[in-house]
């Protein structure tokens, strides 16, 4: 049911013909056709495990297809492996932003193709050229700044500058907006539009349907390694894309909200909390309540959560759990008091990517699986069985490395790990970052079910739809402070944005950000 969009007449620059790919005897892609024209944004979407990453790797030469062919500029080609396709103008910007943290911006832009004279680096010229490229992108980053001092959004801009310096003709972006705030996303889109105006072809991968509708001309939907359709975006709605992705109606992305019980006791009370990145925060959380934490990236939401559970240094202020002073200084104290924090960084902070499912699931609560002081493998296996059932974790088998699971399954495993400690209060930091719609829906329902059971939940999220969709009440943070609080019908994107961007002030904070 592939619908071809013939409205564009520019010749196809990069095309895949009946591409199939298997790893060992596991087929991942089945006879995929794909093409892109200069100046076009072509989005690829699909649930985790649908084969998007593999398709990108095939299109950029990192993996060779098991069958089928690739053509570039109308010629059949075999793309060289190991990123050498960059020299041909096919550049990939990976989700993880592969930049060397200690190099400067200009070093990074010219990495691997430094300008030299007689074997010596021409530092000044590289710096000037970097500045010129950054200027054309309207990016205000110093070419001499070290990468590790930049925000994620700026790092992404550096990656784009790097791609431009390599005369990219096809730019492949793997979930570039997953870690960007709304404003940063808009800036990125401007850059992408500038690039396409210059004739660059952009392959764009995202889970955010709204973005795809806004940016892309065509969308290719993959499901379980199959090509479902390639359609012009004007013929689509977010709902119809979502439906194609999951192959079923996606009604009720968010579960119905129960009325919060305003009489319910306060289980977590934070008073005048000050910590690195946190300036005097106070709030209460009631039993059975879902409290959303909205705000721009870097507004200090994670810092608040980490200060509460003892991962961030608390400078002053008090934390009360069930009317008991609970100024935790270690995670084990907080877990013991029934307060668990689920990190947003599942790959770097949440899971051991090289270990199997069981060690990851039980790591937080290993003491529960001791028998006479020794680990009880049976008890661990049972815990995994329970978690697999409860959170619908899908893996080939229990010994598969967690790093090889899809993002959605990793997230569900991490949720299982957090819930193993049987917490009464759960702080979930970006619980659905970079995962597919189907898994998101599952997680929203789990959150709602936990709240209905009487657990109290804080959801930190940069996706406003999500905060609005799941929360009973929303607080908005800005520059380390609470900018405002919204309840009931007040919870709208506009209101959140006004607080988050500092247009509306909740307190007496009159400082103007630089």
């Amino acid at each position: 049911m592939s619908i071809n969009d013939d409205s564009t007449t520019a010749p196809v620059i990069l095309a895949a013909h009946r591409i199939s790919k298997s790893f060992g005897d596991v087929p991942v892609l089945f006879s995929i056709d794909f093409d892109i024209r200069p100046g076009e944004v072509h989005a690829i979407i699909g649930e985790n495990g649908a084969g998007k990453s593999t398709l990108i790797k095939v299109l950029s030469g990192l993996e060779q297809p098991s069958s089928g062919s690739i053509s570039y500029d109308g010629q059949n080609v075999v793309l060289p492996p190991n990123g050498e396709a960059e020299a041909m103008g096919i550049v990939v910007i990976h989700q993880e932003l592969l930049l060397a943290e200690h190099l400067t911006v200009s070093d990074s832009i010219f990495l691997g193709r430094e300008l030299t004279r007689n074997g010596f680096l021409r530092v000044r010229e590289m710096r000037e050229r970097s500045r010129a490229i950054l200027d054309t992108l309207h990016v205000n980053v110093d070419p001499d700044a070290r990468i590790n001092t930049l925000s994620v959004a700026d790092k992404q801009m550096v990656e784009i500058a790097k791609a431009i310096s390599r005369d990219a003709r096809v730019l492949i972006m793997d979930e570039p907006t997953a870690v960007l705030s709304v404003g940063e996303t808009q800036t990125l889109f401007e850059q992408i539009r500038r690039l396409t105006a210059r004739g660059v072809a952009v392959i764009f991968i995202s889970h955010k349907l709204g973005e795809i509708m806004e940016l892309a001309q065509r969308v290719t939907v993959l499901r379980d390694g199959q090509l479902i359709a390639t359609v012009g975006t004007e013929a689509l709605t977010p709902d119809s894309i979502a439906q194609m992705m999951v192959g079923r109606e996606l009604s009720n992305l968010y579960p119905p909200k129960h009325e919060p019980d305003v009489e319910a006791p306060v289980v977590l009370s934070v008073r005048n909390l000050v910590a690195p990145g946190v300036k005097d925060i106070s709030f209460d959380l009631r039993r059975g309540e879902i409290l959303g934490f909205a705000g721009l990236i870097g507004s200090g939401r994670t810092a608040v959560a980490e200060a509460i559970v003892g991962l961030n240094t608390r400078r002053s202020g008090e934390v009360w759990v069930d009317d008991r002073l609970a100024n935790f200084s270690t995670v084990s104290q907080s877990v013991a008091a029934g307060l668990a924090y689920m990190t947003k960084d599942r790959k770097g902070r949440g899971l051991l990517l090289n270990a199997g499912l069981e060690p990851n699931l039980t790591l937080l609560t290993l003491k529960k699986h001791l028998k006479h002081g020794f680990l009880d493998g049976k008890s661990e296996a049972q815990a995994l069985q329970r978690a697999v059932r409860r959170f619908d974790i899908r893996a080939r088998d229990a010994s598969v490395r967690v790093g090889q699971l899809s993002g959605g399954n990793q997230q569900k495993l991490m949720l299982g790990k957090t819930m193993e400690s049987d917490p009464e209060i759960i702080i979930m930091d970006e619980p659905t970052r970079g995962i597919d719609v189907g898994t998101k829906q599952q997680i929203y329902h789990i959150i709602a079910a936990l709240a209905a059971e009487g657990k109290s939940i804080i959801v930190i999220s940069s996706e406003m739809q999500e905060v609005i969709g799941v929360s009973h009440r929303v607080v908005v943070m800005r520059e380390g402070r609470l900018a405002g609080e919204l309840e009931g019908a007040e919870i709208t994107e506009t209101e959140i944005m006004r607080y988050a961007a500092g247009i509306r002030q909740g307190g007496d904070d009159e400082r103007i950000s630089a």
Partner: protein, 341 residues
């Protein structure tokens, strides 16, 4: 695709163990066959006992090193630490003989001091790396120099020799056997078994692997990273102390040449055994085999004259590099794991 845990758990144990122990074990078997075909005397009871006893020193230290390395650390000080502890034991025992005469208690005192010194030295390494936040390589490079020069200083550049009376009493610890197995080998076996249990059947071992694999994840999982790390260095110190206890009666002396390069041999044994140098994955069984392989190489070179014994280090070097290369290739999912995630 969803597989229930019990279904998946079954094939895992036997299968995994086989695949990962197979490499080093196979190498050891090949080495034994090679040794026997070059010189049948290789498998004489006396020679086998000799190999086992010799490998006990490095093996015991390497068991400790397995924990340190698994938790993402490194200890370069073990060879110097062994020399230092040996020197101190001899000084203390000689002093005790002068004061009270030689008796079994002289040896008990020496052993006690050795254990205290080993644990203390391990604690210092651990404390400096965790609380001092200095890289383990630097800390142990420093303590390595300190212990080595201290033993040279105490021996006044020469050799510290144990009083003959005490030596006679202490001698059986290295030379005597129980059930035809020498005491050093018994010590090695017991240390290896305890090490294996600690690594694979306790929370401590799991925590070591978690810390070595990703320290952040460990911290976010309520693991007391500094404490566990420190304990690995203390275990290492304890192992060094045990190795020294069985080493001292062998020669009854200590000098600045005692234990030279033991740290590298211990690390080599760990790596040949399949433990990852960058941490996160440790195998005690492999370490034991690694220690046996290293000793067997030297022994085979001694028994034959195909390759000069002076090239012992070169052969060991080739084996280390080859072992790590082969392990990387034979790792079941190694190739796919290397791809960017």
């Amino acid at each position: 695709m969803s597989v229930s845990a019990h279904e998946a758990a079954k094939p895992r144990k036997g299968f995994h163990l086989d695949l990962k122990t197979a490499g080093p074990l196979l190498a050891l078997i090949l080495l034994i066959i090679l040794g026997y075909s070059l010189n049948p005397a290789f498998l004489n009871e006396g020679n086998v006992t000799n190999i086992l006893t010799r490998s006990a020193f490095i093996g015991i230290i390497a068991v400790g090193a397995t924990f340190v390395i698994t938790a993402g650390g490194i200890d370069l000080s073990v060879g110097s630490m062994a020399a230092f502890i040996a020197g101190m034991m001899i000084i203390i025992m000689n002093g005790a003989v002068d004061a009270f005469g030689a008796s079994i208690w002289t040896v008990v005192l020496g052993i006690g001091c050795s254990l205290i010194l080993g644990i203390g030295a391990g604690f210092i390494n651990g404390f400096l790396t965790t609380k001092g936040k200095i890289e383990a390589f630097i800390v142990t490079l420093g303590t390595m120099g300190i212990y080595r020069s201290l033993v040279t200083y105490f021996a006044d550049g020469g050799t510290l020799s144990l009083n003959n009376g005490a030596r006679e009493i202490y001698r059986p610890v290295y030379y005597e056997s129980f059930l035809r197995i020498p005491y050093p080998v018994w010590t090695f076996i017991i240390v290896a078994i305890i090490g294996w249990i600690l690594m694979n059947r306790t929370a401590f071992g799991r925590y070591c692997m978690a810390i070595g694999s990703n320290e952040h994840v460990a911290r976010y999982s309520a693991i007391k990273v500094d404490r566990i790390r420190t304990v690995t260095y203390i275990l290492q110190g304890l192992c060094v102390s045990l190795a020294t206890i069985i080493y001292v009666p062998r020669l009854g002396s200590a000098s600045s040449a005692t234990g030279v390069l033991w740290e590298l041999e211990a690390i080599a044994a760990v790596i040949i055994g399949g433990t990852m140098l960058k941490g996160g994955y440790g195998r005690i069984g492999g370490t034991v085999i690694g220690a046996l392989i290293l000793t067997a190489i030297g022994n085979i070179l001694n028994l034959t004259d195909i390759i000069s014994n002076y090239l012992n280090g070169a052969v060991q070097g080739v084996i280390i590099v080859a072992a790590v290369y082969l392990q990387r290739g034979s790792f079941r999912t190694g190739r796919r794991a290397k791809k960017p995630e």
